[in-house]
C-alpha cells in the first residue's frame, strides 16, 4: 500500500533520476524508516481514512497481521461487510468514556438500557436493532451523527435528538402520549426541587428524561424501591399535604390489603391512586374507573359501598354533583363559567384542610367542616357553600347564624360542631341533615324551636302544617303522595331574616311581619298570608285593617305561632270580657278600653244551652254561611251562635260591591257592618220565624230592649 502511494507521489522524480535498482533501494528505505509514520489507514473499501477514524475503527489499521493481532475476539452486536463490528460495543466506548477522555462511567454502571436488551414493551419503528433483534448501543447512538455539540440536539451522538423526548418516543410512544401517562412537554413549577442537572426541554418544560435517566442506577430519579415520594414532591410538593390523611392510603389502609391499588404498606402516598405510566384511566389512575360516571367516577370508585372508602360511601343523596353546569365562574373554587359541578368542585383530594391550620394529627381522623378535603371551610360564614349560593349569605348575621347562642347551646348539648350550612344540610346525606321524617323541615326546625332551647318556641297553637295548600306564588312545602303539604319552609326561608342583607342583621330581636325569615314579605301588605288566603284580602282598607308598623292587617288578630287558640290561631287577647274565645277576641277591641271602643257590643249573648244545627246539617246551605261553634272551634253540625256566626271580620259587606269602605270609620248598616249574610237569610229565621227581628232587637239593642 505504501509503495502505491510512493509511486503516485514520486513517479516523475523517480522516472527521471533513478535506475530500477535505485528505485528498489529507495522503496525499501521508505518502507523501513518512513513508512510506519507516513502510512495512512484505509477502510475496507480501500478509501484512505484519517487518523480520527482509526481512533475507533480499530480494524482499519493497515497491514495488521492476524497472527500478531492483539484484537480480542468479540461477540459483536452487528456485522458490517461480514466482519464483526467492533465499534458499537461497550468495550470500545469505554476505552474513551472511562474518564480519561470523556467520563460516562455512570452510564456503564447504569442499570437502565443495559445492552443487549430485549425490546419487550417498546414499539421500535425506525431505530436499528442488533443481529439478534435486541437493543444495543447503536440503536440510539452513532458516532457519525451530525453536530453532536448542538445543545439538546444529537449529543451524545444520538440518532434522533433527545429534545422534545423525540428519541424516547421512538420506542415509548405508547407510554407518553395519552392521559393515562404523566404528561411531558409541560411547564413545571419554578420552585421545583429537581436535581440541578436534571434534563429539561428548551423552554424549561418537562421531558421523559427529566424523570428517567437514560443511563443510571435508578430507572427513575429519586425513587427508592417503589416509593416515588421524593420525585413527585419535587414538582407536586403541595400535594404532599395528603400525608396521614384518609387519602394517604399507605396510612389509612396500612393494615388492609386489596386486590386493587398499590401496596399500602409502602410510603408512597401517590401510588395509591396514580401510576406514572399505563394508568387504567385518565389522571394516571391506578384503579379501574367507571367511565360512565365521568370525573366523579374517580371518587366514587373508592367511595362506594364496596370501595376502599366504603366508610364514606357516596349515597347519591345530598348535594347533586352531576349534570350541572355552572353558569358563573367561581374563582374561590377554581371553577370557570360553564364547568360542570363535580366532587372536586368542593373537595381537593390532596388537601385535608384548606388553610393548613388544621393539619391532620392521626390516621383515620374524622373530618369536620374545616377539614374533610374541603376547598373552603363551612365555617360560621359558610365560605364553601356561599361561593355558589351567595344569596344565602344574609343569614350569617341573623339569628340563624351558628355563631349565636342558640346554636352554640345545641352544639354543647350534642357535643358536636358544625358549619353554618352543614348544621342543617347534609352535603352527602339527604337534603336536610340526617332526616328521614316525611316532613324534614318541621323536624329540623323543632330541633331548636322546641321550647327547650334558646330559639323561640313554636310548639304551641301554630298555623297548621302538613296540610295541602294552594299558593299563588308556588310556595314550597314538602312532598307527599304527589301533594305539596304545608310546612315551615312554606312561610319561612331560614336563610334570609329580612328583605336585604342589612335587614338581616339582628341581635336576638323579636321578629315581625317585615322579617322573621318569611318567604314573602308580610308588611305592609300581608302578601304572605294572602298568597294562600287571597279571599281575605277584603279585610284591607276596612275598619278591621289596623295595619301598623311591623304588623300587618292579619297579625292584629292572628298569630301563626304560639296563638291563644288552635282554631283561628288568634293572637292573645289578654284579660277581656266574653264567654267564648270569639267573644274574648272581638271584645279585646270592642270594649271600653279597646281600640274599637266606639263600637262596644253591650248586648250579644245568645243562649248556649240549646244546640243549633248548622246550615249544612239542616240542609239549607254551607256550614260557613252561618258557622256555629263549640268550645274548641266551629262545628259543622251542631253548635252555638257566636260573633262569627253573623259577622265575617274579613269583609265589610257580604255584597262584593260594598266590601270596600267608602271612607274610614264609615258607619255600617244591614248591608255592611261585616255581616256575613243578608238578614233575611239568617240562620235565625229558621228557628225564630217571624219573631226573629223582635228577638234580635231585644238581645242586641239595649234601647229597644227597654221598650219591650
Amino acid at each position: 500500500m505504501g509503495s502505491r502511494i510512493f509511486r503516485k507521489q514520486n513517479q516523475r522524480l523517480a522516472d527521471q533520476i533513478m535506475t530500477p535498482l535505485k528505485r528498489l533501494l529507495f522503496a525499501l528505505l521508505f518502507l523501513c524508516f518512513v513508512g510506519p509514520f507516513a502510512f495512512a489507514q484505509h477502510n475496507p473499501d480501500g478509501r484512505k481514512v484519517s487518523l480520527e477514524c482509526v481512533v475507533c475503527h480499530v480494524s482499519w489499521h493497515d497491514n495488521t497481521n492476524p497472527e500478531k493481532s492483539l484484537l480480542p475476539k468479540i461477540d459483536a452486536p452487528i456485522q458490517i461487510q461480514g466482519m464483526p463490528a467492533r465499534i458499537p460495543t461497550a468495550a470500545m466506548c469505554y476505552t474513551c468514556h472511562d474518564g480519561t477522555v470523556m467520563d460516562s462511567r455512570q452510564v456503564f454502571s447504569s442499570k437502565n438500557h443495559q445492552m443487549p436488551m430485549e425490546v419487550k414493551h417498546a414499539n421500535i419503528k425506525t431505530l436499528p436493532l442488533d443481529k439478534n433483534g435486541k437493543i444495543y448501543c447503536g440503536t440510539c447512538h452513532t458516532p457519525h451523527s451530525l453536530k453532536p455539540e448542538r445543545i439538546g440536539g444529537l449529543a451524545p451522538f444520538l440518532r434522533v435528538e433527545k429534545m422534545n423526548s423525540a428519541l424516547c418516543l421512538e420506542c415509548h410512544s405508547n407510554q407518553a402520549k395519552s392521559h393515562k401517562n404523566h404528561p411531558i412537554k409541560v411547564k413545571v413549577p419554578a420552585n421545583n426541587t429537581m436535581p440541578a442537572n436534571s434534563f429539561w426541554g428548551k423552554d424549561g418544560s418537562m421531558e421523559c428524561m427529566t424523570c428517567h435517566p437514560i443511563h443510571g442506577t435508578k430507572s427513575v430519579l429519586g425513587v427508592a424501591g417503589n416509593d416515588r415520594s421524593e420525585l413527585c414532591s419535587s414538582c407536586h410538593k403541595a400535594y404532599f399535604n395528603i400525608r396521614l390523611t384518609d387519602h394517604d392510603l399507605t396510612s389509612s389502609l396500612k393494615n388492609k390489603s386489596s386486590d386493587i391499588g398499590p401496596d399500602f404498606g409502602g410510603h408512597d402516598p401517590c401510588a395509591a391512586c396514580h401510576v406514572s405510566h399505563d394508568g387504567k384511566a385518565k389522571h394516571m389512575w391506578s384503579m379501574d374507573v367507571d367511565e360512565n360516571a365521568g370525573e366523579n367516577g374517580y371518587c366514587i370508585g373508592c367511595h362506594s359501598n364496596s370501595g376502599l372508602g366504603q366508610e364514606k360511601a357516596y349515597a347519591h343523596a345530598g348535594h347533586p354533583v352531576s349534570k350541572i353546569k355552572l353558569k358563573k365562574a367561581i374563582p374561590a373554587l377554581g371553577i370557570k363559567a360553564g364547568d360542570e359541578l363535580l366532587c372536586k368542585s368542593c373537595h381537593d383530594p390532596h388537601n385535608w384542610e384548606f388553610s393548613k391550620k388544621h393539619a391532620v394529627k392521626m390516621a383515620n381522623e374524622e373530618g369536620t367542616e374545616y377539614t374533610s378535603f374541603l376547598r373552603l371551610p363551612d365555617d360560621a360564614q359558610g365560605q364553601l357553600c356561599v361561593s355558589c349560593h351567595a344569596d344565602q349569605s344574609s343569614m350569617f348575621n341573623s339569628d340563624h347564624s351558628v355563631a349565636r347562642e342558640g346554636f352554640q347551646q345545641y352544639f354543647r348539648e350534642s357535643n358536636t360542631i358544625h358549619g353554618q350550612c352543614t348544621v342543617c344540610h347534609g352535603a352527602h346525606t339527604d337534603e336536610l341533615k340526617g332526616l328521614t321524617h316525611e316532613d324534614p323541615y318541621t323536624v329540623l326546625c323543632l330541633r331548636c324551636h322546641d321550647g327547650q332551647h334558646f330559639a323561640t318556641s313554636v310548639v304551641h297553637n301554630n298555623h297548621p302544617i302538613g296540610v295541602p295548600f294552594s299558593s299563588k306564588s308556588n310556595l314550597r312545602g314538602y312532598k307527599k303522595d304527589g301533594q305539596t303539604l304545608l310546612s315551615c319552609n312554606t312561610c319561612h326561608n331560614p336563610h334570609k331574616w329580612g328583605k336585604t342583607v342589612e335587614s338581616s342583621k339582628t341581635a336576638d330581636l323579636n321578629g315581625d311581619d317585615r322579617n322573621s325569615f318569611l318567604t314573602l314579605s308580610n308588611w305592609p301588605e300581608p302578601n304572605l298570608c294572602l298568597d294562600c288566603h287571597p279571599e281575605q284580602a277584603t279585610l284591607l282598607n276596612t275598619d278591621h285593617d289596623l295595619t301598623e308598623t311591623g304588623k300587618s292587617a292579619c297579625s292584629l288578630c292572628h298569630a301563626p305561632h304560639n296563638a291563644e287558640t288552635k282554631y283561628g290561631i288568634f293572637a292573645k287577647w289578654g284579660d277581656t270580657p266574653g264567654a267564648s274565645f270569639n267573644e274574648k277576641h272581638c271584645f279585646s277591641c270592642h270594649s271600653e278600653q279597646g281600640l274599637a271602643s266606639e263600637k262596644v257590643v253591650e248586648a250579644y249573648a245568645h243562649p248556649r244551652e240549646f244546640g243549633i244545627l248548622s246550615p249544612a246539617a239542616r240542609g239549607t246551605g254551607d256550614w260557613l254561611d252561618f258557622p256555629v261553634f263549640k268550645e274548641d272551634g266551629p262545628s259543622k253540625t251542631v253548635g252555638y251562635v257566636d260573633c262569627f256566626t253573623c259577622h265575617n271580620p274579613h269583609a265589610w259587606s257580604y255584597k262584593p260591591e260594598l266590601r270596600k269602605s267608602e271612607s274610614a270609620n264609615e258607619e255600617g248598616n244591614d248591608l255592611t257592618s261585616f255581616l256575613r249574610n243578608p238578614s233575611q237569610l239568617t240562620l235565625c229565621t229558621d228557628c225564630h220565624g217571624e219573631s226573629t227581628l223582635w228577638k234580635y232587637n231585644y238581645y242586641h239593642d239595649p234601647v229597644k230592649r227597654k221598650r219591650y
Binding site: C32, T95, T100, R105
Partner: protein, 291 residues
Amino acid sequence: MRAKYLLLLILTTCFCMVQGLIAQDINFAAVRVIEADFNFPTDICGNDGGDVFVLDAMNDRVVQIKAGGELVIIKPQQESIYKAVGIAWINGALWIADTPRSRLLRMEMSGRISQVIKLNHQTEPVDVIGDGENLVITDRRNHTVTVLDKDFVEKYYWGKRGEKVGEFINPGFLASGPENRIIIGDILNRRVVSFSPSGRYPQIIAKPGVEKGQIFRPKGVALDSKNRVWVADGYTGAIQAFSISGNYEGIASNAGKSLALSAPMGIYIDKQDRLWVVESFASKISVWRIK
C-alpha cells in the same frame, strides 16, 4: 557493487526491526484478584510501606490494600471525589486528580481532605505524579501537561491538541522514568511518549497499532525494577513492556497466552515487581508477579 552492499545492509536492518516486533512473551503469574465492590475504579498507586491505594471514585472512596492484604475503605469526609480519575502517592500523601472539578486533592488516611488545589484554565486533570517538589498533571480538556511548583502554582506546561510529536490528543496516565523523564500515555494518538522534566526531548516509547509491540489505547504506565516501561492497553487488554528508548520488550502472558484483561486502566508495580492492574470494566484489581 555499492548498491548491492547497500541492499544487503538494508535487508539486514529490516530483519532486525522485524525481529524486534516479534512478540516476546513475558510470563506472569497470577497472585490474587481483589474484588471489593468496586464501581469502575480507575487508578492505583502505592507507598513505600507496601500499601496500595485504589481510586474507586464512582463509589466516592479510596480502597487501601494494606501490605498484609487487609482492605480498608477510606471515605472522604469533607469533599466528594466522585468521578475523579487519577491517584498518586507523592511525598508521603495521597493526591487525587479530581477531574470534573478542576482540582487536585490531598487526602489523609483518615479521609480528610487536607488540601484543595484549584487549577486554572479549566484544567481537567486525569493523572498526577510527583517530580521532586513539583507536581505534574495531564489535562484532558486542554491536551497539555502542566507542572506545578512546590507552592502549587503553575510553573509551565507543554503540548497542545495535535498528532505531531510533542502534541497530544488526550494525555492520560503518567509515570516517572529514569532521569526524571516523564512518561505519558497519549491516549487518542495511540502512543506512549516520554519527555524531559521540562517537557522537551520527546521520545516515542510505544507506537500506534493493534499488533504486539503496538498500542491502541494506552492507559496505565509503570516501570519495573529493570526500568521496563509497562503499558496497559485499554482496548486489547494487553500489558506490554517497552524499553525507555522505545524498543519492544514483550507482552505479559500467562499459561502461554497473552493477557487480555478487562479494560485495564491504572497500573502499579511494587517493589517486589508485582504488577497491580485496575481492570476497570470488570471492577476488580488483579495482581501479577513478573517472572
